[in-house]
Symmetry: none
Subunit: 404 residues, 2 copies
């Protein structure tokens, strides 16, 4: 039997509460070999008080050497096998705008771009047009496009130059290459299928749509063409409730993380925009859920920008919300991240991630700080992200004994 | 999807260089419980300088408790699953003499031995006859033997009493038991098949060959009989280039490691005989390859001989070549071993192996020495040998992000 099935059979419902606080891209690196990491540099008096009572460790997000995208990295934290359960960017985009996907829908992310008269791309982001412009252009396309019998096209504005595309009504083929050549000065690529025979119809429909869009947008100054990437068919996921009998609430301020949470059956608050609102909502909804996912984006964005000091500040601001969470007395409090985003590298990385579990029955690791180095000494060290959920269930008395 | 496939899809070619320095059997053990290991006893001033900037760990070569042969231990280091990808000794022997194997060839290792008039073995190594003697006897056999229609036999001298045997021309059965009874005073065994029905033809051909050889060698003083072991069919391996898009060069002074490297598609220098020549060749070939495998044998041979002090000296001599490697500025430098060969045990062992990675974007583990004990504190601790290659690719910017 597989461990997933064992866990599913052992899970039992209780009143206990689990809070998972995810500081996106928290894991870091010293700028110089003998310097401190972002987490080591941050002043975290509240965290400091609880750390000696926690179990800690450096976790492997996916597999050694693999730099995770946000999708697989979060699925790991939620107890899914991130290699089996990977999701395409197109599906994430559609989920992020709260589009009501149906099984079999083909999704892609569109970026509006600017092309010159010869058809070559001059700006892959169409000057980051305003979101309202984006909405106007999407409507213009949908008002003018002609689709094959039975095919439906949806375009949902994300932000600036970004749009979620959804195609519905046929059995589509999803193994399609991006049309974004990744460089300016080149023409957009045609949609091509990995298996040209199997993907012929779907690629044909998409290439026809793109050709029409090009005509419809010919008189636009900036957004006069589209680049498509991340083609993926939407398939239903096993929910967190199916897997773990948990009623889950996601408190995230960014679309993609809300979409991810929705994909695995969490209830999602689509309104909140700040840590303060996240805390208010947490308190308000405390009795209605068993599992709370709180997502903080700033650690990742500052890391991506290479802004070490800003990342330190974001970490310090997270320290301020920790007492607000603990005041509610969750049986299990987890603080970790999806992946590392060292400011030094200005991007996601494969480095292991710091994690802690606070619970009345955790074996305290007696470390005096929470960072990439002290975590190496803890009992969670070397586990995988996907091991966190079973540990959360165990520490909250939601997992019965295995075997007699 | 499996992780191997994920990695294959994420690999991208770059100009960056990876050097993997393998000190065979480096991992050791104190002679007395409170003593030092070979690595702890060695004076390594050059390594000492870089260690604080490295990621380190004790790695599992195959699986806990498994003592690896050189084949699987190296395959693990090269990113192959050593349990799935094991190679028979016969194939390693043939590869070690640079024999041009074809798919389906049946290989075995022959040891010449001495038998008395009653047919009992008196010396399993035929007095370690000279290599030239070995060549003369191989020719004598091939000149006189009669083979079934369509079957070809090749005998290639290795060294002293050792010969690589290759049989070609039929669909052979490979699950055959060794004929070496492992003890003197016993007769050589017949070739027997695990599945007597399926293996009947192959076993019959081999037993007939052995009977003829016994007659042909009846007048020899020392090498008057053969013992066969390690039967294995040669099957093509996925190359390092197929797996990781790496152009690889092997700089090894011993036949078996060259053969192993050739098996997985590395280019092999068949001439070099010393560490100095290895370093000269490394410098000369620097621009022609992405991955360099440098193999040092002395750590293993001294360990096998139980010579603790000699092993320490060999380790200290390795310290001298490290600056020569680093002078070339590889993006990734790995120093590790295939398995432990503690002098105390006079043989390979199952104990975990020390490993380090030096790269500009490794998270430094801040340890002050490189040995079996300090490695336990590092972020690589507890990984498997087969995880090293994905990490080497990540640290050299050859692995793209997984998922959106």
């Amino acid at each position: 039997m597989e461990i997933e099935k064992v866990i599913h059979e052992l899970v039992t419902e209780t009143d206990s509460k689990i809070v998972m606080l995810v500081a996106d891209g928290l894991g870091g690196m010293p700028l110089l070999p003998d310097g401190k990491t972002e987490l080591e540099s941050a002043n975290m008096p509240n965290l400091q008080k609880i750390v000696p009572h926690c179990s800690v460790g450096l976790l492997e997000p996916i597999s050694p050497g693999i730099t995770p995208g946000s999708g697989p990295a979060h699925l790991g934290l939620f107890g899914y096998d991130p290699i089996q359960a990977n999701i395409g960017r197109g599906v994430l985009s559609a989920l992020g705008v709260n589009f009501d996907l149906r099984h079999g829908d083909l999704c892609a992310r569109i970026n509006f771009c600017t092309i010159d008269k010869s058809g070559k791309i001059t700006d892959r982001r169409a000057g980051r047009i305003a979101t309202d412009e984006n909405k106007r252009i999407c409507k213009k396309i949908l008002d003018n496009i002609k689709l094959p019998q039975g095919v439906e096209l949806f375009l949902v504005t994300e932000k600036e130059h970004r749009v979620a595309l959804i195609l519905r009504g046929r059995k589509f083929y999803e193994a399609l290459a991006d049309t974004d050549p990744q460089k300016e000065g080149l023409e957009p690529l045609l949609v091509t299928a990995c298996d040209p025979q199997a993907g012929k119809e779907t690629a044909g429909i998409l290439n026809d749509i793109i050709a029409q869009v090009k005509n419809i947008l010919a008189d636009e100054q900036k957004a006069n063409m589209v680049l498509l990437r991340g083609f993926a068919e939407f398939k239903k996921f096993t929910t967190m409730h199916d897997k773990f009998k948990l009623r889950c609430l996601a408190l995230a301020t960014y679309p993609m993380y809300r979409g991810l949470a929705k994909l695995i059956g969490m209830d999602v608050n689509w309104q909140i925009t700040s840590a303060e609102e996240q805390m208010n909502e947490l308190e308000k909804q405390w009795n209605n859920y068993d599992f709370f996912f709180i997502h903080i984006k700033g650690t990742d964005s500052s890391g991506e920008d290479g802004d070490f000091q800003r990342k330190v500040k974001v970490i310090e601001s997270i320290d301020e919300i920790i007492p607000k969470i603990l005041k509610l007395k969750p049986e299990v409090f987890i603080f970790t991240c999806d992946h590392s985003t060292p400011a030094k590298m200005k991007g996601h990385s494969w480095h292991k991630i710091p994690a802690l579990i606070l619970a009345s029955n955790c074996r305290p690791d007696r470390v005096d700080r929470f960072d990439e180095y002290t975590c190496r000494k803890g009992c969670l060290n070397g586990l995988y992200s996907k091991d966190l959920m079973p540990l959360a269930l165990a520490h909250s008395n939601k997992l019965m004994k295995f075997g007699a």
